[in-house]
């Protein structure tokens, strides 16, 4: 009888023992467990993204020859246009370098672009992230900026063997330095909890008092080179209203982000060619 009563508490004792063991387990062991389980799951996600690619391939194959010829012609036109832009871009870059040399301006950070496919989107009240199909195999560093044609996407927060996790700009824990288009003064952009209705949004703080934003003429928030992660001038979002912030000295407002952030398929990772060595450069 006594044995029966004690056996009732066996599950609780086992649970307590596990808690205690987990508590004293070294961080290396937990980290190893996490990496092992993450890497074990990764092939399933990579496989599903390749199946998606295959599906798109077969969908495209069903197009008629006439449609493909028209698409080819359109592509050829665009290619010619982008060639012209490329030439102009090269000339402007050269001019900028010449002026920088004359004015003795400190060098800009240069980036390598790595295009990656989005294999998972995880957007909810608790976290906002995407998983991309490139990781250590493409030497993606943690903290790199991620962008798309609509502007800033977010930042790499975790890199695994073949995948990386990107924290989206709409995530409440995401924060970066920004400025308004045509105004060099820095402001702070931060993501916010999303309601699930309408476009994704964030908040801007520390905006100067003289800035005016209205619904008819919203002002564009862009990235700055402060912080070193993002190149300057990348679109973040539009601000339609600014009001006095909690301090009363600066203004704050809501930032409307690009709706395409919710359905990203491909993004570009900006990998710095000359990474900042913050530890060794610290005073």
């Amino acid at each position: 009888m006594a044995k029966l009563r004690l056996s009732k508490y066996y599950p609780l004792v086992a649970l307590g023992a596990f808690f205690a063991l987990w508590w004293i387990a070294p961080a290396v062991f937990k980290s190893f467990l996490k990496v092992s389980f993450t890497e074990f799951q990764a092939p399933a996600w990579i496989a599903s993204s390749y199946i998606d690619d295959l599906e798109s391939f077969w969908a495209r194959r069903s197009h008629s020859k006439l449609e493909l010829i028209n698409a080819g012609q359109e592509l050829a036109r665009q290619k010619a246009f982008y060639r012209l832009l490329d030439e102009r871009n090269a000339a402007l870059e050269e001019e900028i370098s010449r002026l920088e040399e004359i004015l003795d301006v400190p060098g800009r950070r240069e980036f390598r672009y790595e295009v990656a496919r989005v294999i998972r989107r995880d957007l909810n009240a608790w976290w906002q992230q995407i998983i991309i199909r490139k990781g250590n195999d493409y030497k993606i560093p943690v903290g790199s900026a991620v962008i798309f044609e609509g502007g800033v996407v977010g930042r790499i927060v975790e890199v695994n063997a073949f995948t990386s996790r990107v924290e989206l700009i709409s995530s409440p824990s995401f924060r970066m330095a920004a400025s308004f288009s045509g105004d060099d003064r820095p402001v702070v952009y931060q993501g916010e909890p999303q309601s699930g209705f309408g476009t994704p949004s964030g908040t801007v703080r520390d905006a100067p008092q003289d800035l005016v934003a209205t619904t008819d003429s919203p002002i564009q928030l862009v990235s700055t080179r402060l912080g070193g992660t993002f190149p300057p001038g990348l679109k973040i979002g539009k601000v339609r209203w600014l009001e006095p912030g909690s301090t009363g000295i600066f203004q704050a407002g809501k930032v409307e982000l690009d709706e395409a952030l919710l359905s990203l398929h491909e993004v570009s990772i900006l990998i710095p060619l000359n990474p900042l060595d913050l530890e060794n450069n610290a005073f």
Binding site: Q41, R121, N124, W126, P172, P193
Partner: protein
């Protein structure tokens, strides 16, 4: 203390459920909807298996979920083991061989998981109305989906027991 092979089968089913849920979530992201379907993962191991096998199955499931989500590693492992242990201790009260009681338990455990996530990851946003709207929509949608998903998963698990010629009865039958 014998090892029950059903525990590994249940881990595989839970991994499948998580994978399908995350695939659906990736598609629903464009309309800002999200599903949390974690509750059913804990129920069958707690109701069907002996303690050692239940513990192994729930531990592996918890680690699997922890690796898939950007939460503190161990949050779901702890939560699943704690919730599973409570279910295990009172399992003789439930009819595990039918879907009614397991489905109710799946709803209860799922709601607890959402609550744990909200307390752990959302405590900084409690003052935000948008956060609560999103949490409410997610909870409502997840529990509507659970009405269909939980019985499907339980039936699938029982069917797999049969196909793999494993024990189809729970370890402890309920007191009648």
């Amino acid at each position: 203390m014998r090892f029950d092979p059903r525990s590994l089968l249940l881990v595989a089913c839970n991994a499948l459920l998580l994978y399908v849920t995350l695939l659906i979530n990736a598609s629903l992201a464009s309309i800002n909807l999200h599903l949390i379907l974690l509750g059913p993962m804990i129920v069958i191991p707690a109701l069907y298996l002996n303690h050692t096998s239940f513990f192994l199955s729930t531990l592996l499931t918890g680690l699997w979920v922890d690796a898939a989500f950007p939460t503190s590693f161990g949050l779901f492992t702890f939560s699943f083991l704690a919730l599973g242990t409570i279910l295990f201790s009172i399992r003789y009260r439930f009819h595990a061989e039918r879907n009614f009681h397991p489905s109710l338990l799946a709803h209860a455990t799922n709601l607890t998981c959402i609550l744990i996530m909200t307390l752990w990851h959302g405590h900084a946003y409690f003052s935000s109305g948008a956060f609560w709207i999103q949490v409410s929509i997610t909870t409502l949608l997840s529990h509507i989906a659970l009405l269909f998903v939980a019985p499907w998963l339980f039936d699938l698990e029982r069917l797999l027991f049969k196909i793999c010629r494993l024990e189809t009865e729970p370890e402890d039958l309920p007191i009648t």
